[in-house]
């Protein structure tokens, strides 16, 4: 009898796990709550470190999906059950699916910047998130970004919702720093006479070519980096934003006005993941992301046999490592299914 797997979540991880499993001859049901696949990959215009179009990655992932995958779009899950080595998934539209293995790839959400009241998101006009900035890049490639703004200065704020006890997330979201540097360069490319300032606590340029991006931002584009976390943002009469930071490298408080304030929002666990995890009895870490069976050696399985995880349900991760992780999950699922009767 053909072995089967149900994958919950049709983002980067879900799509790659699905195509690898289908390739291995396993029957796959892929459940996605939105009307299209891709998840957060669809939010980004160009990806670091080489600033290539995210659509190319989306095409690659779509390309791997074949007819052996049963796709359920606009599908939300009502109940999940685990009954003697079978998994039963009941969708809200009444459909019931069952399989021998389950993969949770429900991804993440971005931090709601409105929770940081002192930054003015949702209160003042020219405060946006990094996700909204990507939308702007995608839609307005030739447009004058600063039309109607009283200042051609952009402030990029690192660590919004991450490394912040008041926001409830003390972990680092890892990828926001490089996103900030990438967006700084992209703004300078679009508007060379804009002044761009990045306000950071630490610059986490941990992966290949990230440090080189930081170097390029300074050497080639004149982006200025001020080490100091944003304390508060207020609005001037001309709708520019007045921001206050400590310039820690000189030890003095500093205020400046910017025309546009971009908040680099971090990763938070998807509430849907937590709901499904509770139904199955999966363990969460203190940071509310899911725990794998072993931190080093079994990062794609969980403590429940037959339940596997892929992608950002485990914590912040980039596109490249999510794709690699999804392939590893597919292999773990296949190995598990081989020994099942």
């Amino acid at each position: 009898m053909t072995k089967s797997a149900i994958i919950i979540g049709g983002g980067t991880a879900g799509m790659e796990t699905a195509s690898r499993l289908a390739h291995l001859g396993i029957e796959v049901n892929l459940i996605e709550k939105q009307s299209q696949l891709g998840g957060h990959l669809n939010s980004w215009d160009r990806l670091f470190p080489n600033r290539r179009d995210s659509k190319e990655v989306h095409e690659y992932l779509e390309h791997g999906m074949n007819d052996a995958i049963f796709l359920h779009l606009n599908a939300e899950i009502d109940i999940l059950r685990h009954e003697s080595e079978r998994f039963i998934v009941k969708l809200k539209d009444g459909k019931e699916l069952n399989s021998d293995a389950l993969v949770i790839a429900t991804g993440y959400e971005v931090f709601d910047a409105g929770k940081k009241e002192e930054y003015g998101y949702g209160i003042y006009d020219h405060v946006i998130t990094s996700v909204e900035m990507e939308e702007i890049f995608r839609k307005y490639k030739q447009k004058n970004l600063f039309e109607g703004m009283a200042s051609k200065r952009v402030g990029i704020i690192h660590c919004v919702g991450s490394r912040d006890e008041k926001a409830g997330n003390i972990y680092c979201s890892k990828l926001c720093c490089v996103t900030g540097v990438k967006q700084a360069i992209e703004i300078k490319e679009l508007m060379p006479d804009a002044e761009v300032f990045c306000f950071y606590m630490d610059l986490r340029m941990f992966d290949r070519y990230f440090e080189e991006m930081y170097f390029e931002a300074q050497a080639k584009w004149g982006v200025q980096f001020i080490r100091g976390r944003l304390s508060e943002a207020s609005e001037n009469q001309d709708h520019t934003l007045l921001i206050k930071v400590e310039d820690t490298l000189t030890g003095l408080p500093l205020k400046m006005k910017v025309g546009l304030l971009i908040l680099l929002v971090g990763f938070v666990p998807n509430p849907e993941t937590r709901r499904l995890a509770a139904m199955l009895g999966l363990k969460e870490g203190d940071d509310r992301f899911l725990c794998p069976a072993d931190e080093h050696t079994l990062t794609n399985s969980t403590t429940i046999p037959g339940v596997f995880i892929a992608g950002t349900v485990k914590g912040p991760a980039g596109i490249a490592s999510t794709i690699a992780d999804a392939r590893a999950t597919a292999l773990q699922v296949a190995d598990y299914l081989k020994v099942q009767k």
Partner: protein
């Protein structure tokens, strides 16, 4: 004007929008490698002058980028141009030339 026995304190907050950057622009033009600085402090850690005076080259040039030039003239005189800072800079900033360009800028603007 009356005095009540106390004075209004000087605001030490850097008001970026109120500062005049013409000195900064001249220095940046003469020594553009200064834009590579990442604030690591290797230069200041090894600086000969820094042991016995308050001379802090990292802080000084960061303040220049913020448009703050208080005490710049007397501070920059403390540098002996030994070149130890330049030897250790991980980003390749030409620090000796930077110090000389600061002297030039101060002279150009009659400070």
């Amino acid at each position: 004007m009356k005095s009540f026995g106390y004075t209004i304190s000087k605001d030490r907050q850097i008001n970026f929008d109120a500062n005049d950057f013409e000195i900064t622009r001249l220095i940046d033009a003469v020594e553009p490698s200064i834009m590579l600085c990442m604030g690591c402090g290797s230069c200041t850690g090894t600086c000969s002058a820094g042991h016995f005076t308050e001379f802090n080259i990292r802080r000084i040039h960061t303040l220049i980028q913020r448009g703050e030039f208080d005490h710049l003239k007397q501070e920059i005189m403390k540098c002996m141009l030994c070149g130890k800072c330049q030897l250790v800079c991980p980003r390749g900033v030409n620090l000796r030339n930077l110090i000389l360009s600061i002297h030039t800028a101060l002279e150009t603007f009659g400070i």
